[in-house]
Subunit: 212 residues, 2 copies
DNA sequence: TAGATTGTTAATCGATTAACAATC
DNA sequence: TAGATTGTTAATCGATTAACAATC
């Protein structure tokens, strides 16, 4: 039987923010060995029990009264998220959003390493965006196989999303971070994470209305 | 007593995707009067009961056997999200991510109208990004009052986030869409929606690992 | 030691799903 | 009419929070 220990999505989503806090703490107070769940919770305005519960999924074990070893905790979170080695990634669609993602330096702290970028617009091909040369979408499958890339970021017009996904899957991609509004049809061996920017804005609008 | 009917965040988050589907349908089959929850669910790979339940929060009433009136449904969702009139918004921080948001045309379909953009980098001030002139952050409070802007998008370096938030609150901002990693301290009359891009990537990484 | 913190087990809360009568 | 769909009420599932013993 499989290691079918299922972890909750909300917990996984909070881990990156914990990681940021812990690293800040590590830098501010160099040499400090322990950080408590209570402190992480305070910084993020959460309940400490939630932080402790979330951290258990990484396998970290703390010490009563002291907290968690700072370096061990960073390692545990990184390992759990597979961020201990940078994930080589391809960006597909170098428009506004794609370019912004290419230039978002903070992603390097979160395990993301974009090694190739593709676009079908011939005027963009060969140009550099934030240090990465844009390549033709025509040779995408070969390049992805050559680089051995397993993750793709989809930031192209919705009409092209499914075609691109098909090519990516055939090229051996195992995970797609989908910023388009289109639902993708892929084999269930391929993980898809849909990112819908407007859902957050919708929530903000409703919060504002109910606050009055 | 207040109209304290609290609606769930997950339901609100799904509404924009329903809106997209319904509008597509409206365009593809012009003149069609009804769309069923079943159909929306199929497009998005959800359960139809979930779609029906979500739609009730907008106040829409459907007709058994037929579904929901297409135009009434669009209106109901838009009204519920306050997207029936475009929300005038200020963008604070015209870096990579900020510029991408300025150029993201799809937001206009989701109630978002960016009417002013600010940056503290003097080399950017006065230049145009996607048709919007970047203004000096120094005069931000006055401009925001003049424009009567109630929503701000925060896309600047984390160190500057709290200071900017303080200015925005004093300038009469009622909602902040926060793309920085910093937790903001604001009066509880001000709504804040935190957007953490790396949380989605974390989830993708974990999905990929547990899929093998 | 006393007080703070962890980690486990139980209780609560909220969201999703199921069942089904009402309806066109 | 028969079959599809809505909307309501109940059941299930999962996430958050509470309580508390163990520990350093």
């Amino acid at each position: 039987m499989r290691n079918k220990k299922i972890v909750g999505a909300p917990s996984v989503r909070r881990l990156p923010s914990y990681l940021d806090i812990i690293r800040d703490y590590q830098q501010e107070r160099e040499g400090v060995e322990y950080i408590s769940g209570t402190r992480i919770a305070r910084e993020l305005d959460l309940e400490s029990i939630q932080v402790r519960k979330d951290l258990t999924i990484t396998g970290i074990v703390g010490r009563p009264k002291k907290g968690y070893r700072v370096d061990a905790l960073v390692s545990a979170i990184e390992r759990f998220l597979s961020w201990d080695t940078l994930q080589d990634t391809a960006l597909v669609g170098a428009g506004n959003l794609g370019s912004a993602i290419l230039g978002h330096r903070e992603f390097a702290l979160h395990g993301l390493n974009i090694v190739a970028a593709f676009d079908s617009n011939s005027r963009k091909i060969g140009t550099k965006v934030h240090g990465i040369t844009i390549m033709s979408a025509a040779g995408m499958d070969i390049q992805i196989r050559n680089f051995g890339i397993k993750i793709a970021i989809l930031t192209l017009p919705p009409e092209q999303a499914q075609d691109a996904a098909d090519i990516l899957v055939r090229a051996g991609i195992e995970g797609i971070w989908n910023f388009t509004t289109k639902k993708l049809a892929v084999p269930d061996t391929v993980a898809v994470q849909n990112e819908d920017l407007s859902s957050g804005f919708a929530l903000l609008c409703v919060k504002m209305r109910t606050r009055k």
